[in-house]
C-alpha cells in the first residue's frame, strides 16, 4: 500500500514535506496504526507519532487521515483510499511529524473546571443517583480527549485561546448533567462571554469526526438552552 505522510523535524527541515512510503501490508484486518508502526519498525525509524493503547481508548493517536480527523488505531486500512494521506491534527502547532502540541486543548479543558463540586458533607455511602440520572451522562463521560473534534473545528482554529472548543464544552456539560454536581450556575457563568461557548456555529465537524461517536454539538445546544431558561 502507498502512504503519503507529513514529515517535519524542526532540527533538520526548514519546512514540512510529504514523504511517500510503499509498504507490503495486507489491508484486511489491519488498522492504520499497524501500518504506521510497520513503517517505523521496518522502513524508517525516524517517523514520529504518539501511540499507547492501540484499541481506541487512550486517545494518543489522533491524526488527519485522508482529510478527516480520526484515531489511527481504529481506522481500518481496507477503508482507506490510496495513497493514504496522513497529516498531524490541524490547527495545532506541530512538534514533529504527526506529533502536535496539545497545550491549547489541555488549557481549555482545565478552564471548564472539569471536576465534581459538591459542598455537602460526604455521606458514608455513595451519593445516590438513579439509572435515569446516570443516563444523562451517557455520551459525555466516554470522551478520551484525543482532540479530533476541537482540531476539526474552524472556530477553534481561529480562537484557540478564547473558544473552549467541542472537547472542553463536552466536559463542561458532563458536570452540568451530573446530578451530583452543585455548581451548574457557576459553570454556565463561566461560558457566558461572546467567545467561550458562543463561537460554536453548529457546523458539527466535531460530531462527524468523533471516533467515539459522541455529539459535542448536542451538548453545546443543551447548554445554550439552559442559559436561555436561566435568563428567562
Amino acid at each position: 500500500m502507498r502512504f503519503s505522510i507529513y514529515r517535519y523535524d524542526p532540527e533538520q527541515d526548514a519546512k514540512p514535506h510529504m514523504q511517500v512510503y510503499d509498504l507490503d501490508i495486507d489491508p484486511a484486518g489491519n488498522m492504520l496504526l499497524d501500518a504506521l508502526l510497520m513503517i517505523k519498525d521496518t522502513l524508517d525509524s525516524t517517523l514520529t507519532l504518539r501511540r499507547s493503547c492501540r484499541e481506541g481508548v487512550c486517545g494518543s493517536d489522533g491524526m488527519n487521515i485522508n482529510g478527516s480527523n480520526g484515531l489511527a488505531c481504529i481506522t481500518p486500512l481496507a477503508d482507506l483510499k490510496q495513497p493514504v494521506e496522513v497529516r498531524p491534527l490541524p490547527g495545532l502547532p506541530v512538534i514533529r511529524d504527526l506529533v502536535v502540541d496539545m497545550t491549547p486543548l489541555n488549557q481549555q479543558y482545565r478552564s471548564v473546571e472539569p471536576w465534581l463540586n459538591n459542598a455537602d458533607p460526604a455521606p458514608e455511602i455513595e451519593r445516590l443517583q438513579s439509572p435515569e440520572q446516570r443516563a444523562q451522562m451517557d455520551g459525555l463521560v466516554e470522551c478520551i480527549q484525543c482532540g479530533c473534534c476541537s482540531s476539526a473545528c474552524p472556530s477553534f482554529w481561529w480562537n484557540p485561546d478564547k473558544f473552549v472548543g467541542p472537547a472542553g464544552l463536552l466536559a463542561a456539560y458532563r458536570f452540568i448533567a451530573d446530578s451530583r454536581d452543585q455548581t451548574s450556575d457557576r459553570r454556565l457563568d463561566n461560558l457566558q462571554d461572546p467567545y467561550r461557548l458562543f463561537r460554536c456555529h453548529g457546523i458539527m465537524n466535531c460530531v462527524t469526526v468523533c471516533p467515539k461517536g459522541l455529539n459535542p454539538t448536542a451538548a453545546i445546544g443543551k447548554m445554550k438552552t439552559l442559559l436561555v431558561k436561566r435568563g428567562a
Binding site: 472556530s155 457566558q192 462571554d193 461572546p194 467567545y195 458562543f198 445554550k224 436561555v228 435568563g231
Partner: protein, 109 residues
C-alpha cells in the same frame, strides 16, 4: 442584560424565524397576484399589514446579518482597531439599509 453573547445568539435565532416565515409567505402572496407587472408588484405593498410585515422582515434581516457579520469579524479579524472599524462600517451600512427600505415602503402610498 444577562450576557451580550446570549442575547445576540437569541436575536439570531428569533430573526431567523421571522425570515423563514416571511420567506414562506411572500412567494404565496406573489402567486396569488400572478401574473406580475410593475403596477401589480407596487400594489402588493400597499396594504398596511403587508408594509409592516415587510419592514419587520427587513429589520430582522439587518439584525441577522449584523450577528453574522459580527461573528465573522470575531472569528477571522483579530487586530482590534480593524475589527472595530469593520463593526462600525457594517453597523452603519445595515442601519442605512433599514432606513432606505422604510423610505421606499412608505413613499408608495
Amino acid at each position: 442584560m444577562v450576557g451580550g453573547a446570549l442575547s445576540t445568539w437569541l436575536v439570531q435565532r428569533v430573526s431567523a424565524l421571522l425570515l423563514a416565515a416571511y420567506s414562506l409567505f411572500f412567494p404565496l402572496w406573489v402567486a396569488l397576484h400572478w401574473p406580475l407587472d410593475f403596477a401589480v408588484w407596487r400594489g402588493l405593498f400597499v396594504p398596511l399589514p403587508m408594509r409592516i410585515a415587510t419592514l419587520l422582515f427587513v429589520v430582522a434581516l439587518a439584525l441577522h446579518a449584523w450577528v453574522g457579520m459580527r461573528d465573522i469579524f470575531m472569528d477571522y479579524v483579530h487586530p482590534l482597531g480593524l475589527r472595530l472599524t469593520l463593526h462600525i462600517v457594517a453597523l452603519l451600512w445595515l442601519a442605512a439599509c433599514v432606513v432606505w427600505a422604510t423610505a421606499i415602503l412608505w413613499r408608495l402610498s
